[in-house]
Amino acid sequence: MAHAEPPLRRPPGERARPPVQPGRVLLIAAAMLFLGLFLLLPLLAVFTQALAKGVSAYLAAISDPMAWAAIKLTLWVAAIAVPFNLVFGVAAAWAIAKFEFRGKSTLITLIDLPFAVSPVIAGLMFILLFGAHGWFGGYLREHHIKVVFAVPGIVLATIFVTFPFIARELIPVMQAQGKDDEETALSLGATGWQTFWRVTLPNIRWGLLYGVLLCNARAMGEFGAVSVVSGHIRGLTNTMPLHVEILYNEYNYTAAFAVASLLALLALLTLAGKSFLEWRQPELRRAGSHAQGAGGNARGAGVGNARDRTVREKS
């Protein structure tokens, strides 16, 4: 920032304007057009369709007992799957980032497996394992445990599909941070547990929250794998995405889009949360007077990060 004038802070929103470049304008316009056409317009369509028959019809569709059951089940599944993957993700990222061990690259590959495999195949895997004719089918039947076509199957499938999100988010963060902080804490007499809670966790909290958000969004929105193992029993094993499909197939468009709009709303909330985190993430903003000065001009996380880096290097 080369200030010729006295270093007054610019009012927020006002920036130094670069000269107009036709190539740049064209690129930005193309990107915006694409976004509008393929992302914004469909989203808008969902809400328009949902509210097509008025607010009362919308509310009625949402408060339908079957819809409610689907909403509750979806929330339950996410409430189980996300904490499970949280613990797994942190443990896996910790192991991969901070230790050298045999089979490490295999573990990294395995974590990516759910991303590589089609969700339908993931669902079928669980049928093969726990279905009536599956490997554990006999045992489960003898003990009257229902996995497939029941809630446990849905939870398992969801956990499988959302497995990589948190670990994938944390591994680069933890690798970049190295082991110095933890080793310092240990040398100062902290136990492993204290080190984790007081040093490691605060260091990864933003990455972790971000991972949880993405994981949660996927857990609630998962269709393919859940569809295979759920059995589509209304009021029992129907999650929101499955419920939307059923309503749609019954030509009940208003209800289908009403429930869909809830899912879309959830996605929007997730995105809002994500951008909030990205805005928060350059933590130096809180700490650094430099960074605070930069904050007025640079809202974008990328720019903020670059600034913080220069501050760090300068000092």
Partner: protein, 356 residues
């Protein structure tokens, strides 16, 4: 606390980081582990800290076998090159960390912690910075916070891994002197790792020169500098000119200079080399020594460095000589001038290393 290593070795896969190391560090010593990167000096420091477990050998703390003690039981302060300050904590919280994680019975009261932390911050001249965050401090200030934090738990041993490596030379110089003073005041045992020979010579009581995972030489700085036991140590501690030693008719020569009178010719291998430091070169009139031409003159503060193309040596391998500024002003060499080179001191090594 005294520290002793007995036959310590550590492998990383196929790579032997350190091997068969014996070292005695008496209580209150300030020792530098010096060597090029990859020589195993950091591994050795981490073994002493308990951050690595040696594959063989023993680590003794005050004569007791500490090889398997975890780091938190060793009562060592460890300072990293990149400070490793907890970035989400204020400077005060960073320094207080070691006190706050103590088990409840041993933990001082909040008021005592505040007092202790404040006095440590004063000690490192950062009394004003308690509520700052690490990101707001300069590199030198951060490293002082890291030191205060390490000192807070009252360690018996202070271990520093390239503590000044990431700082610019001015700050580095200041911190070196400051560390030396701190050590003299507080009387703990300190071991620090560095690849900077000047830093080692300036700060340490004893220098341990490491090469390829082994100790090359051990001694007080002036002794290691003046009497290197190998060509490696000679080269590593300061600038050298490398000159082939030629044997002819039972006499030894560097260039045309006969060195037989001060060299054991019979013990000199045919492919030996002589190492001469730049300040050990004497420049005189053309006829007084090895004829040479001044190729470059560079004034560096109090000294003047001359590049000399000696007769019979390739032009791209000039001799480097250093003379004082005063002498330079008195004599006034200029590029192209013909001079004669003599050596005040030199040391002859067989081509493969150890002292002859």
């Amino acid at each position: 606390m005294s520290i002793a290593l007995r036959g310590v070795g550590k492998q990383f896969g196929e790579f032997a980081a350190v091997g068969n190391i014996d070292l005695d560090v008496p209580t209150g010593a300030l020792i530098a582990l010096l060597g090029p990167s990859g020589c195993g000096k950091t591994t050795l420091l981490r073994i002493i800290a308990g951050l690595e477990t040696p594959d063989e050998g023993q680590v003794l703390f005050d004569g007791r076998d500490a090889t398997s003690w975890p780091i938190r039981d060793r009562n060592v302060g460890f300072v990293f090159q990149h400070y490793a300050l907890f970035r989400h904590m204020s400077v005060f919280e960073n320094v207080a960390f070691g006190l706050k994680v103590k088990p409840r019975r041993e933990r001082p009261s909040a008021a005592e912690i505040t007092k202790k932390v404040q006095s440590l911050l004063e000690l490192v001249q950062l009394g004003w910075a308690g509520d700052r965050f690490p990101a707001q401090l300069s590199g030198g200030q951060r490293q002082r916070v890291a030191l205060a934090r390490a000192l807070a738990v009252g360690p018996d041993v202070l271990l520093l891994d390239e503590p000044f490596g990431a700082l610019d030379s001015q700050v580095r110089h200041e911190l070196r002197r400051w560390l030396r003073r701190l050590h003299d005041e507080l009387h703990f045992t300190s071991i620090f790792v560095t690849h900077d020979q000047q830093e080692a010579i300036e700060v340490a009581d004893t220098i341990v020169v490491l090469n390829r995972g082994r100790i090359e030489q051990f001694g007080v700085p002036s002794e290691v500098y003046d009497l290197p036991t190998s060509a490696f140590v000679h080269r590593f501690l300061g600038q050298v000119n490398e000159l082939p030693v030629r044997l002819r008719d039972g006499r030894a020569f560097i260039g045309p200079i006969d060195i037989s009178s001060s060299t054991d010719v019979s013990a000199t291998a045919p492919d030996s080399i002589a190492l001469v430091r730049p300040h050990e070169i004497e420049i005189g009139a053309e006829a007084s020594g090895w004829p040479a031409v001044v190729a470059a003159v560079r004034v560096i503060g109090p000294i003047v460095r001359l590049e000399l193309c000696a007769e019979g040596r390739p032009a791209h391998e000039p001799l480097e000589a250093e003379i004082s500024r005063e002498r330079f002003q008195y004599v006034g060499y200029s590029v192209g001038q013909k001079v004669g080179v003599r050596f005040r001191r030199w040391q002859v090594y067989p081509a493969n290393g150890a002292a002859a």
